[in-house]
């Protein structure tokens, strides 16, 4: 395939993925928006109004970036893991496997769908947030960069989960028992400066902390961690997960006999 043909194949997969989650928007777009709106009402307005400011910001202003990032993370992951596993389960992954598409186009096709859903849900949640707080964009290019990298990272993680999954249970285990705890402990609702030293040091092992913190930096201009270090860690994870996902597809793990 020449470059133009590869781009057409990638675009086909990208559009197919967008149409897939758009067809079921009541399951894919609406729930995270409602969930985050409840967070804003309960943690932001009701409980948050009783709490002190954090780093000079009202509690609700402080948690908005983390809640947007939480939606981006869970949706970019969920989109790819469910789409890839469904295509394995219904065997229509074979449509791609018999075609001349190289494996990296298949990877980017699914990842691009995860990016699209992560960004659309992120924008919807941001829109909801405007009803509760004044949204600020301290550093827009950084915001775009960290959002994109986070979407890619978790779309790749979802793809790897989908490759190994053998049942619908397998695609919910990682989000439930790994992703959700790491997200909640990733500094969405607090600054790690508020933690005792042991827990603060332990938090540095949580990759989601770097994404939430960098995203908060891009919106509010406050940070717990140096942004360069955070970006370097996120990019390293993206590279590692991409290499793993591509290798798994090349070896046919979970998709070829």
């Amino acid at each position: 395939m020449n470059t133009s043909e590869k781009l057409i194949a990638l675009k086909t997969l990208f559009v197919k993925e967008i149409l897939r989650f758009a067809r079921i928007w009541i399951q894919t777009i609406l729930p995270p928006v409602i969930t985050v709106a409840l967070y804003f009402v309960i943690f932001g307005n009701l409980i948050g109004s009783q709490l002190d400011d954090i780093k000079g910001y009202r509690y609700i202003d402080f948690i908005v970036p983390g809640l947007i990032m939480m939606s981006v993370i869970t949706n970019s992951y969920a989109n790819v893991v469910s789409s890839f596993y469904s295509s394995k389960f219904q065997k229509h992954i074979e449509e791609m496997l018999v075609s001349p598409m190289p494996n990296y186009i298949i990877v980017w096709g699914f990842v691009s769908g995860g990016i699209a859903r992560g960004i659309i849900v992120g924008l919807a949640v941001t829109l909801v947030a405007t009803f509760f707080t004044d949204i600020q964009f301290h550093n827009l290019p950084l915001l775009v960069l960290v959002t994109l990298l986070t979407c890619i990272l978790f779309a790749l993680a979802g793809l790897i989960n989908g490759i190994f999954a053998n049942s619908f249970d397998d695609i919910s285990i990682i989000p439930t028992f790994v992703l959700t705890p790491l997200t909640y402990l990733g500094g969405i609702f607090y600054s790690i400066d508020m933690l005792p030293e042991f827990w603060r040091n332990l938090s540095f092992a949580n990759p989601i902390l770097y994404m939430v913190d960098t995203f908060r930096t891009s919106m509010l201009g406050i940070k717990d961690i140096d942004t360069t270090i955070s970006l370097a860690i996120i990019i390293t994870f993206v590279i590692i997960l991409y290499a793993v996902a591509l290798r798994l597809l090349q070896k046919g793990i979970g998709i070829r006999t």
């Binding site: 194949a9 086909t12 197919k16 074979e94 001349p100 046919g252 006999t257």
Partner: protein, 306 residues
Amino acid sequence: MNTSAPALEIKNLTKRYRNDVLALDGISFHVNRGDFYALLGPNGAGKSTTIGIICSLINKTAGEVNIYGKNIDYEFAEAKKMIGLVPQEFNFNSFEPIAEIVANQAGYYGIALAEARQRAEHVLNKLGLWEKKTDTPRQLSGGMKRRLMIARALVHDPQLLILDEPTAGVDIEIRRSMWKLLQDLNDDGRTIILTTHYLEEAEYLCKNVGIINQGKIIIDTSMRLLLDQLKKETFIFYLRDPLANIPRLDHGDTHKIDERTIEVTPNEHCTLNDIFTDLSQQNIAIVSMRNKANRLEELFIDLVMS
């Protein structure tokens, strides 16, 4: 493109699964351009494994596969562009409209959207499915789903069409219409490889045949030569008038089924003309006749059982 290379060339193809089952034991065969080739064998013989390897759905253990001279390992994209696969099991996205399924398949081959849509319309029209273009596969009957799989396999205009039991579970009317379609596709110059358990289908459609058993090719020849190996064939004759006794024939053995039906097995090297002569000499009038069993089926059972 190498213009002299066969449509499909398989050399020493081996597949050993992780559970140590040897599905293919170094098979070699080729299919010429424009051929209509039957790949037959009992369940578990290795037919679907062979097709899976050709189409990159199964990793091979060893061996070589070339499509129109293009090696599937080293000239991956060029080789795959020439193959269209109609798999045994339905493998659609159940929620996608069928026009999208077919147009997307074209997109995976690098065909731009406008042309992909045109091609989808063309093949769906050809297969009588265009009116259902907004339906999802769940809304189609079994026969329509089979036709949709053929439409999807044809959308990128492959030179080699591989059909893995395409008529399994469809009624006789649809089967006949699919036979006509496949013959037309073959007449257009497309090479077709067919696996089927309906041996009359293979006999009716295919020019050449390979029989695979326990991972080995045991026959690779023309359908005509294979059928010529059949030494004895039995026919059922339906008679106009009732018979009191079993007629004795000079050129064959007879067996009475009922008073208006007899079974005749011509002697070796005797023709049906000889049998008709014997019968007419005894004033026995024949209304109609048929083969007792499908000829290929008899041979197939002999070959596989031995």
